[in-house]
């Protein structure tokens, strides 16, 4: 088999795939299914992550998931909840005043309560881990760059905001070290001031330097849109905003006339799309080496979507698999197993990632 060319997959493809898996996780409390989803995400991340800094974050998300499960279970023990069932440990109940009626502190610990907490925590943890998988597979900044041209400026602002945080951490470390070199006022306010003033001054100076740098390099050039075109775009975007606002309100408020609900929302979205396209066309800006969308991207996105759709179908038709409850032992059937395993497709279908220090040909793939 000939070697495959290494390239970075379109970030949107990874996100669609991950959101598909996360959506599947929200639809089930079957612990086997959830574990399988985590395993699928982990395998794909192992197979297709690059060696860039963000790629190392997946382990952090796994720890975060574990923490979520633990916290959820501990809460179950502390606040009890389920009455009846198999009592594992008969803890005394702490009496609480009347105004917190409905909340019980401690009390008998039941197997059912514990399991319910565990399943619930696992579901949340799986969602977080799926999103984490997307974050470690796709460069978050490149995702921001894939926004439509009309939103380019907002996208750049977000990218810059993301960059500022590590810089702020650097400058905080530097100032803390520097302030230890001198005597000065102590006390809580004094110390805070000693720390904050130089950090904020530094942040302000950096921001100004960056703004000056961006301005001299042409960020925010006016382009050649005429006054009338700019007005039209403004009107379109305002109209879209109103439509979406009214529509959302009517969808949520059941007493509002129905014609204000879904139709209004759809109209708003449509106008917004027209506005984005029309203002995007006027923007005189180009993109350097945009990520292409090829067959691999479609496969990856489709596999994630398929997982979500099939699990949604199972949740509707086979309640015993999707929500096994806490009384019986959870099990999987072929449909559920197959559904989740579809999520493994990217581990093979996606091209190997480009490595910073590796030849462009990944041998043996």
């Amino acid at each position: 088999m000939s070697a495959r060319l290494a390239r970075d997959l379109h970030p949107v493809a990874w996100w669609v795939w991950a959101i598909g898996l996360a959506a599947a996780a929200t639809l089930t409390t079957n612990p086997l299914l959830l574990l399988l989803l985590v395993a699928v995400a982990a395998v794909v991340v192992q197979a297709r992550r690059s060696d860039q800094p963000w790629a190392r974050s997946f382990r952090l998300y796994l720890w975060l998931g574990l923490a979520i499960v633990l916290i959820r279970v501990v809460f179950r023990i502390l606040f009890g909840g389920v009455d009846g069932g198999h009592v594992l440990l008969d803890l005394p109940s702490v009496p609480l005043p009347d105004w917190v009626a409905g909340v019980r502190l401690l009390g008998p610990l039941t197997l059912e309560g514990l399991l319910a907490g565990l399943y619930d925590g696992m579901r949340l943890a799986t969602i977080v881990i799926c999103i984490g998988a997307a974050n470690s597979l796709a460069n978050p900044k490149r995702l921001l760059k894939s926004v439509p041209p009309a939103l380019y400026e907002v996208g750049t602002a977000l990218v810059v905001a993301v960059t500022v945080f590590p810089q702020l951490a650097d400058s905080a470390r530097r100032v803390r070290a520097a302030q230890a070199l001198r005597g000065g006022v102590d006390g809580r306010v004094g110390r805070l001031r000693r720390f904050l003033v130089p950090v904020l001054e530094d942040a302000l100076e950096r921001s100004l330097a960056l703004a000056a740098g961006m301005d001299t390099r042409g960020y925010g050039r006016a382009g050649d849109a005429t006054r009338a075109e700019r007005r039209l775009n403004g009107a379109l975007l305002l109209g879209a905003l109103c439509g979406i606002g009214v529509g959302t309100y009517a969808v949520l408020d059941t007493t509002a006339p129905r014609w204000l609900a879904t139709p209004m929302l759809l109209a708003g979205v449509a106008v917004a799309a027209v506005g984005l396209v029309s203002s995007g066309r006027r923007v005189r800006r180009s993109r350097y080496r945009p990520d292409p969308w090829r067959i691999e991207e479609s496969l990856v996105a489709l596999s994630g979507t398929a997982v979500g759709v099939i699990v949604w179908w199972i949740a509707g038709h086979d309640l015993a698999v999707a929500h096994p409850g806490v009384e019986s032992v959870p099990y999987l059937d072929v449909a559920a197993l197959g559904a989740v395993l579809v999520g493994l497709v990217p581990a093979v279908a996606a091209p190997p990632p480009r490595l910073a220090v590796a030849p462009a040909l990944a041998v043996g793939a």
Partner: protein, 531 residues
Amino acid sequence: MIELRNIHVTYDDAAAPVLDGIDLTLDEGELVLVSGRTGVGKSTLLGVLTGLVPRFSGGTLTGDVLLDGTSIIDTPPRERAHVIGYVGQDPAAGFVTDTVEEELAYGMEQLGVAPDTMRRRVEETLDLLGIADLRARDLRTLSGGEQQRVAIGAVLTTHPRLLVLDEPTSALDPTAAEDVLATLTRLVHDLGLTVVLAEHRLERVVPFADRIALLTGDGGLVVDEPATVLATSPVVPPIVELGRAAGWSPLPLSVREARRHARHLRVLPAPEEHPATGGEILLTAQGLVVTHGRHVAVRDVDVELRAGHVTALMGRNGSGKSTLIWTLQGAHERRSGSVAVDGADPARLAADRRRAHVGLVPQTAADLLYLETVGEECAAADRGSDAGPGTCRALLDRLAPGIDPRHHPRDLSEGQRLALVLAIVLSTSPRVLLLDEPTRGLDYAAKRQLAAIVRDLADDGHAVLVATHDVEFVASVADDVVVLAEGEVVSAGRTREVVAASPSYAPQVTKILGAPWLRVDEVVAAMEAAR
């Protein structure tokens, strides 16, 4: 090509205008050096060209800026981006993206350059600047010289006709600075680019300059051939100082020219080396090893600092100088080895006791300052160090007399601010003093003052260690030199011996007259003695 006509700039709270009726015409394909003392308005002049003054600085600007005869004074910087490229003092602060390749493309994306043209220009620029091997690197992992070259490349991709640089070599070690300057000269010669740059370290730039624009300090500007301007300029590199003292005409601007003139000086008796004075050892470090993760920042370094001695710590960017300094001070954790100051290990002392043994002035000295006036800073330093009231102020008056206590520390000049930080650090009366890159942003006069201060402190019984890239500063003040590479000591010894043996760390006088000459004042003294 670009013409400044009768430019006046006045900042809001200033009594006198910074630039007062300045005219400057820039031609195609020339390299113009903007020079002058600190605070005379070099950055302001550059800002007028780029359009950042007054938009980002405040103040009022009158006069006219003409591009090929049309006025662009009301055009904001972003609309000048296709003609004028600008690289600021700290190139890393201006980076927008996170990899080299994307940074090179950023400006072109803003201008809407066609994708295939972009692709081609990025490749051309990578080759032109010799940074092709850096293309996929994260910008934050680059060394200072690499960052500077990427920043230059990032503005070159838009094919500007004028490149404006603010202190492009001030943060760089001598070799990296030479690389950057060689790149700029190549751009001027090959592409016909016009380059305007402001720089304090004239010894690095003067040989490359076609003309010098000297800001006189009263708002005026003198523009002429380098030799003519330098004959009377208040800021001159050592080579010109030597030429003036020896009465050479025309003034030599490069080491090669000066060597020809210097033949008759070879007969002078060599300066006598003062024997190493045996001051007591105040700080001993043995077998220091410091690691950052897997990277070994300092490997097996021994250091001895003696009372009355100034030791210079040199080495390229990222060779472990700062790490070593912070480890000696005790704030940075070491992996193995020992440090002893007065018999105590500073790493085991609490921060306030540590300050009484070792004083440190970090690279960004302003990080130490947090109050509104100089007087408050001094009072806070006195209270924090149990020194009597007025200790810090007395020190400050010795280091830099006559600073108004009501001034805000940020309004002081670079040199004054450094003196204030030094006074604050010294108010706990440490006997060992460590300075990390103190000469950044200082002009020749301020550097001379700093050298005098450092010498004075050493004569007072302090042991001083200065990490710096500035070879001329080292020549003027250091007794010993330690050169680091990759965290290891590659040479250590008396300044004359170490510096003479290394072509990149030799000061200009050594390059002209050979070892053991180091400083202009030595040559002048010898000439007077011979007369």
